[in-house]
């Protein structure tokens, strides 16, 4: 109506915000490039430079690429103004990797700043210098870090510690020891702030170099409460690992249950649990679950995989020598120093401290972690979720711990659905007799919650509680029945999504309670059957009908009402949903089998009626089921029809009756408490893997107890003594160490031998396992194809540590043995497998050189051969197939290079021409080593020749001339860059090593989609989940190897929670460029779902850039094109 007023109001509000924003950098963010930035950067005023840099920063923040200003910005690094410096550093670090050459220009300035008197300037210079991550300046940075590590300022030393992981990221093998030395020095620093940063450097640089910790163990423990909170988190983990690696687990802790069950100490432990958990009926299974959780803590993903693949392998029990006592000083100090951290303000610190207690503390002391953990739930929403996830595992392993605190897990309406679900699960596992009535009362409130999904979960939880505490079962069932009655009154009218869920879940819960003790719930079944008419939801109906069939002969009343029920079901059969129809068929069959009573004729009438209806059903599943049942029961029904049955029992009738009996007659045995699926994995408390349910890259289980090499240990003692002189207590620490060392020296052999016959030796510290030799022997002799089917897996599965698997993959088994760098290599969360003799299945591709239509009936095909020429490494060998498709004989067929003159007669001697050609090669264009001619080719005859060709150019086809019957056919030979390489069999370590030398510009990545595996997957219907991965691996490897001359180095399988998710599958191939023997490494990483087209990213590392790129393009092309279906 009054547009002008609206406009004024709007502009007014605009103006007011503008006033409010005056003096901020708002205008820079809103219009960062409304002025020309470049001249501002060149300005001599700091304020203008600042503005320009802020504008650049705004552009970065908004996601624009402003790296083109790099040279101008770098110049300003010399500015005296700290603000300009800071902004320049921010810009520099964002782009340094993109513009390495220009970044080098700033180095001098950094060097100068490192000598500045202001510690802030020194620290910033160091941070920026280390942050630009250039290989060339790494040695300079190392020197600078070394210098700053001795700086008087704590802040600078802290930054030096933080710079170490950056250096380590550059993977400078030659400097590793220097870096580790600095880490050791900083760990020994007197300032807690520095120690914290040093701990994080230790964790990322050399997490297994425990000698650095051993030297300072006591000091580190004592300084721990004063360390910065972030450092505490890391340091706690390091100390825990150190203690386990060098002293083993604690006898009094829960981890002791991993120790073999044949000791009388075990009795104590059982006593303990029983005393604590009175009221747990299923203590046995629970402690088994606990055992599994604990087992997972010290077991790496590789070990786990190899164990689970072999059926029912018993997890290796730990040796008693691998346990120490709580009274051990070392353990005592650790617990003493971590317990005040349970009061920390930082929830991550509390959880880390709780984790140490969980693993190391005696069971009596464990109570200490309960209240702090519960208090954490109040910190922030996000951490509440993480804490609950961890508590959930603790509760699973030891419900008694949290049982008195059940009230803390009561649900609030503000909780998110995930948190509600977690709380329900925890509540149902901590319920004991004393608390269950309160918990159930609480559950009653939840059922009325408007969030119906949550209400359905509550119903499921009630079922679980009832199964756990049978005393409550009757009450629960009654409650659930009331609920069902109430629900179907509502459900009748409305069809809200969640509503069905509650009803279905209620019936599922009742069903599972009935299973525990069917006879006492006869009335419940009857009630459910009565409500059948009111319940409309198909799956709920199907379940009740199942109950009828299952318990049709139970008790007194049910058998009598069964026939009526069946009549009712038969009547409404046509209007039922699919699953209900199927269930009606099954139930009728079951009743028929079980029934021996009087109303058999009624039943048979119902039976034939239902079968007849079903046979004409719209749905083929129903039709199939009915035909199957009809066939199965035909004799049964017939023979019962005739009264003179006993004698005339035919063989056939007998048989099918037995079948029917087997299928329908038997009652399903009562399942005890549903055990967790065995492939559930548990990870260390407080870890990321624990939350995402798979081992995240870099996840490490606890070190093997007492795995620290003892020789090292003695050396440590020596250094410890010399180092700890100023500590004043060299005698105590020294003597403890020595005492334990002498104790354990005899155990070394024991553990070693036990490793050899069962447990795996994928051990971080213990490299003394040269006893892998026999393993390699075994695995090499093992039939590879059989292994795929799991045949060998079950026998040798336990032996398949990473090492033996890797060596399996490499043709020369020695290579992995020679390689000792295994230790430093970061463990990945994937398993390595072999996909067997893939090479034998390669089918080379045929290309047409000349087709019969153009060649007067001569057909010439060629394929690239995987053999390499013995004559010269520059030559690519091809197989050429000649076939005479005409009706006349041909003669004098020869193939020559067009550029070379005709005069070189094919009939001349072979050798000179060959040498001649190879000589020429270096100067000339594509050349070809001449081929033996074919004097004559009869009709229908085929002849093949090997051709050695040198393609000078990777992409252009080679022009050749084919002579036949003195006619010249110009032909073109298309090069395939995939065969310009030859396989380079190397070990995985060597591969990684080479790969690390070819970073940055020598690395190219492209992605494409891959669909070949779908054909295979669709073919095999009984695809187990492991097989899917294998099929993909095979399809990929086959595709790669049949299109390029490569050698397969390794296959990494993801250990994903989602079995259909192939992401992370990684194949490595290696090859060597024919002409200059440069290695060319290919890594193929898969992403996506097994059953969908996969996204494959191909990475090529090759020193020869042009070749590498072309090669990559070729690989991507052939991977993307669908394969011709193989017969």
């Amino acid at each position: 109506m009054f547009p002008q007023f609206g406009a004024t109001a709007e502009s007014l509000s605009k103006a007011s915000t503008a006033v409010f924003r005056i003096g901020t950098d708002a205008h820079l963010y809103d219009d960062p490039d409304d002025v020309n930035i470049a001249p501002l950067l060149e300005s001599k005023f700091d304020s203008e430079k600042t503005e320009a840099l802020k504008r650049l920063l705004a552009l970065i923040a908004q996601g624009f690429d402003v790296s083109n200003f790099f040279p101008q910005v770098v110049k300003n690094v010399a500015s005296q103004s700290l603000e300009v410096k800071k902004l320049v550093y921010l810009y520099l670090l964002h782009y340094a990797e993109k513009r390495p050459n220009e970044a080098l220009l700033s180095i001098n300035c950094f060097q100068k700043d490192l000598g500045d008197t202001n510690p802030l300037v020194r620290a910033w210079a160091l941070r920026a210098m280390a942050g630009i991550r250039l290989h060339v300046i790494a040695p300079l940075v190392l020197v600078a870090v070394g210098k700053c590590a001795r700086d008087p300022s704590v802040y600078v030393r802290k930054c030096a510690a933080n710079a170490l992981p950056k250096l380590h990221d550059l993977r400078m093998e030659e400097h590793t020891s220097a870096i580790e030395e600095i880490v050791g020095m900083l760990l020994n620093d007197n300032s807690p702030g520095v120690v914290g940063a040093a701990a994080s450097a230790f964790a990322s640089v050399c997490p297994n170099n425990f000698s650095l910790i051993g030297r300072n163990y006591k000091k580190l423990c004592e300084i721990l409460p004063d360390v910065e909170e972030w450092g505490q988190i890391i340091l706690i983990g390091i100390l825990l690992r150190y203690v386990i690696a060098s002293y083993g687990l604690v006898k009094e802790s829960i981890m002791f249950s991993l120790y073999g069950k044949d000791d009388n100490l075990e009795v104590d432990e059982q006593d303990f649990i029983l005393k604590e958990d009175t009221g747990y009926t299923s203590e046995k299974t629970l402690s088994e679950l606990a055992n599994m959780i604990l087992q997972c803590y010290i077991e790496g993903p590789d070990e786990y995989l190899s164990r689970s693949s072999s059926a029912n392998m018993v997890p290796p029990k730990l040796d008693v020598s691998q346990f120490t006592s709580c009274s051990n000083d070392i353990v005592k100090i650790l617990l003493k120093c971590t317990s005040p951290l349970l009061w920390s303000n930082n929830s991550a610190v509390v959880l880390a401290a709780a984790g140490v207690h969980w693993i190391m503390a005696s069971k009596g002391d464990l109570k200490r972690i309960v209240k702090p953990l519960l208090f954490l739930m109040r910190s922030s929403y996000a951490s509440r979720y993480v804490v609950l996830c961890n508590i959930q595992v603790f509760v699973k392993a030891m419900p008694s711990l949290f049982a008195p605190h059940y009230e803390d897990f009561f649900v609030c309406s503000s909780d998110s659905y995930q948190i509600k679900a977690l709380k329900l699960e925890i509540l149902s596992s901590v319920a004991v007799e004393s608390s269950v009535s309160f918990i159930l009362k609480e559950f009653q409130d939840y059922i009325r919650d408007p969030d119906r999904k949550f209400a359905a979960d509550t119903v499921a939880a009630i079922g679980l509680c009832a199964q756990k505490l049978p005393k409550m079962a009757t009450t629960c069932v009654e409650g659930l029945l009331t609920l069902i009655r109430q629900e179907y009154f509502c459900g009748e009218i409305r069809s809200m999504d969640g509503e069905d869920g509650v009803l279905i879940q209620a019936i599922i819960s009742i069903k599972s309670i009935i299973k525990l003790d069917p006879p006492s719930y006869e009335k419940v079944i009857i009630q459910l059957v009565r409500s059948l008419d009111a319940i409309k939801i198909p799956s709920a109906r199907a379940m009740i009908i199942w109950l009828v069939g299952e318990y049709c002969s139970l008790g007194e009343i049910i058998p009598r009402m069964v026939s009526t029920v069946l009549k009712y079901l038969a009547r409404c059969f046509t209007s039922e949903a699919l699953e209900t129809k199927l269930q009606i068929l099954n139930t009728t069959a079951k009743v028929l089998i079980c029934n021996t009573g009087e109303d058999i004729s009624t039943l048979q009438k119902v039976w034939s009626y239902v079968i007849e209806l079903a046979e004409c059903d719209m749905n083929y599943d129903v039709r199939d089921r009915s035909r199957f049942l009809k066939k199965l029961f035909s004799c049964n029904v017939d023979s019962q029809n005739h009264v003179e049955e006993q004698n005339s029992e035919s063989q056939k009738r007998d048989q099918s009756y037995v079948f029917a009996e087997c299928i329908f007659g038997r009652q399903t045995t009562a399942v005890t408490v549903p055990t967790e699926p065995i492939n559930d994995r548990f990870y260390l408390p407080g870890s990321l893997s624990q939350l995402v349910f798979h081992a995240a890259p870099g996840y490490e289980p606890l070190p093997k107890p007492c795995s620290l090499p003892y020789i090292d240990f003695d050396q440590n003692d020596g250094t410890a003594n010399s180092d700890s002189d100023e500590d004043g207590d060299p005698s105590t620490s020294g003597s403890v160490d020595e005492g334990s060392a002498s104790d354990y020296s005899s155990e070394q052999s024991v553990t070693a031998s036990s490793e050899a016959d069962g447990s795996d030796e994928i051990d971080s510290g213990n490299e003394g396992n040269n006893n892998v030799d026999p393993l390699i022997q075994i695995s090499d002799t093992g039939n590879v194809s059989e292994e795929q089917n799991g045949g060998v897996h079950s026998r040798f599965g336990d032996l398949m540590s990473t090492k033996s698997l890797e060596s399996w993959l490499d043709e020369p088994a020695k290579s992995s043995k020679e390689n000792e760098t295994n230790q430093s290599r970061a463990r990945r969360s994937s398993a390595r497998i072999t996909i067997g003799n893939i090479r034998s299945r390669i089918k080379p591709k045929y290309y047409t050189l000349l087709d019969p239509a153009n060649g007067n009936g001569l057909k010439v095909n060629y394929s690239f051969s995987t053999e390499t020429s013995s004559v010269s490494s520059h030559l690519v060998s091809l197989e050429v197939f000649f076939e005479n498709c005409s009706s006349e004989a041909m003669s004098d067929i020869v193939l020559i290079d067009e550029s070379s003159n005709r005069s070189s007669d094919p009939s001349t001697n072979q050798t000179p021409s060959t040498t001649e050609n190879t000589m020429k090669i270096h100067t000339e264009n594509p050349a070809m080593v001449s081929m033996e001619d074919i004097p004559s080719l009869e009709p229908g005859q085929t002849e093949n020749r090997t051709l050695l060709v040198r393609f000078h150019h990777h992409l252009l086809p080679l022009k050749l001339a084919l002579f036949c019957n003195d006619t010249k056919f110009p032909v073109k030979l298309k090069p395939d860059i995939g065969y310009f390489v030859k396989p380079l069999p190397i070990s995985i370590e060597a591969f990684r090593d080479k790969e690390s030398h070819l970073p940055g510009m020598f690395e190219y990545i492209r992605s494409c989609t891959f669909t070949d595996h779908l054909v295979e997957l669709n073919k095999g219907s009984n695809s187990l989940t492991e097989d899917k991965f294998l099929v993909i691996c095979e399809a990929l490897a086959l595709k790669m190897m049949s299109n390029a001359n490569l050698s397969l180095v390794s296959v990494d399988m993801p250990v994903a929670s989602n079995l259909d998710d192939a992401s992370g599958l990684c194949l490595r191939f290696s090859s060597e460029i024919l002409s200059n023997s440069m290695p060319c490494l290919i890594t193929v990483t898969v992403e996506g779902k097994c059953s969908d087209p996969l996204t494959v990213s191909v990475k090529v590392n090759c020193e020869e850039t042009v070749f590498g790129l072309n090669f990559l393009n070729r690989v991507v092309n052939f991977l993307a094109e669908p394969s011709v279906t193989r017969s």
Binding site: G23, A61, N118, K166, P340, S344
Partner: protein
């Protein structure tokens, strides 16, 4: 270690990104995250830890801003979450609030802060007081100065003295004309009252907040008259654990300015300061709602800002609610707010009305939960009492003040 931090606005737009390590994280991860959280809001949008195809994501949501951190390797998830919370707190302090515009307006400060707070994916300086010394918070003076002179630097020239001293949280040697310490007990009461009116859970979460302006290096001790009621405590790093363990006394060298000294929890309280009694009777397609609120005035203090909020069940078509005190609002998403304000002395506020159920539905079968809010000045509902505050090592006199305030936390009444 963290690789990258993104700040996302309410609409999923990336406000800014900060790459932390050499392994750059592409922005596309944010759009992936946003798409996922929109499409699966129920199961995913609220998860704090997410495994995306390429990275693990941690998200912390604060007042419309999503703080998103990415990593590719194993790290303690709580460390990332706690750090993001800390970033949010620091930004909140600096900018005087948190919203998209404030962050955009001060993006340079945000960048500088992030750069100080985290180095190579590992937290560096997170103590707010120290950060304020390194990077000056934006204030009116600096704003005006920048307008007038055109120059302003918020980056300090010198390293804060604290980072060199043995007390990393305290500025080396502040000088004040007036020395004063204020101590606040801020408590939140969590209570659950089930539909029978029984108190299922009643506990208090409290914080001891200190605002200290003391010259020199003071050593304080704070003691409570009844420390035994504390069920669980958490401390600022400055508190000496040993003193607490042996004597239940808080002994500390305080940071300068505002900080949270400790937080505590008192469980199993017997009563709530006010009662809320909802009644729902449904019959024949309508539902009669009646809610009574009253104070159990045993503290002698007034109860302020009382609100009752609940979500009408989805099966309700329309609602007609009136109250004899305060205002009733029904929002579009069927949230009902009853704003009572201060509870009057002469009458008990009540709200009543009828709800019309969906056609065909006879009775109500899902029941709303009533969330209650209130505030009480001058009362610590837990009953915790500060005994005394002493200053050692500093000779001069100082002023000390104590306050207490209680408010409702998760105060729920089921019906």
């Amino acid at each position: 270690m963290l690789q990258c931090i993104f700040l996302l606005s309410n609409s999923g737009e990336v406000i800014l990104e900060k790459q932390l390590t050499g392994h750059r994280v592409d922005r596309s991860i944010c759009s992936w995250f946003w798409d996922q959280s929109i499409s699966q809001a129920h199961s995913f949008g609220q998860l704090p830890v997410i495994a995306s195809p390429t990275h693990y994501l941690f998200q912390v949501f604060r007042e419309g801003i999503t703080f998103l951190a990415c990593t590719q390797v194993e790290m303690p998830p709580l460390m990332a979450i706690e750090f993001l919370c800390r970033v949010a707190d620091v930004l909140n302090d600096y900018l005087g609030g948190l919203n998209e515009d404030l962050i955009k307006d001060n993006f340079v400060i945000v960048y500088e802060l992030l750069d100080e707070m985290i180095d190579n994916g590992f937290p560096l300086t997170t103590e707010p007081n120290i950060l304020q010394e390194m990077i000056a918070p934006p204030n009116i003076v600096s704003k005006v100065l920048s307008v007038v002179t055109g120059t302003s630097s918020n980056v300090s020239d010198t390293l804060p003295g604290a980072s060199a001293s043995g007390v990393p949280w305290r500025t080396a040697d502040p000088k004040y004309a007036q020395n004063e310490v204020y101590i606040d007990l801020a408590e939140e009461m969590d209570a659950t009252i089930n539909r029978d009116g029984a108190l299922m859970k009643c506990e208090v979460y409290g914080q001891v907040k200190v605002n200290s302006h003391i010259s020199g290096l003071p050593d304080m001790t704070l003691s409570f008259t009844n420390p035994s009621i504390l069920d669980q405590v958490r401390f600022h790093p400055c508190v000496r654990f040993r003193q607490w363990e042996s004597h239940q006394i808080l002994s500390f060298v305080p940071p300068d300015g505002q900080f949270k000294l400790m937080s505590y929890r008192v469980r199993k309280l017997k009563s709530t300061p006010l009662y809320v009694k909802p009644q729902l009777t449904s019959n024949g397609g309508t539902c009669r709602l009646n809610v009574m609120v009253g104070s159990r005035n045993n503290h002698g203090k007034t109860i302020d800002l009382v609100t009752v909020q609940f979500q009408l069940p989805s099966c309700i078509l329309s609602a007609d609610l009136t109250s004899n005190h305060g205002t009733v609002n029904i929002l579009a998403d069927k949230t009902c707010n009853w704003n009572i304000g201060r509870i009057p002395k002469d009458k008990a506020p009540s709200m009543s009305g009828t709800l019309v159920l969906e056609t065909g539905l006879e009775r109500l079968h899902t029941f709303p939960t009533f969330r209650v809010g209130f505030k009480m000045m001058g009362v610590a509902l837990s009953g915790l009492k500060i005994d005394k505050l002493d200053l050692k090592t500093v000779p001069y006199r100082f002023f000390k003040g104590f306050r207490a305030v209680s408010r409702a936390g998760e105060f729920e009444v089921r019906s």
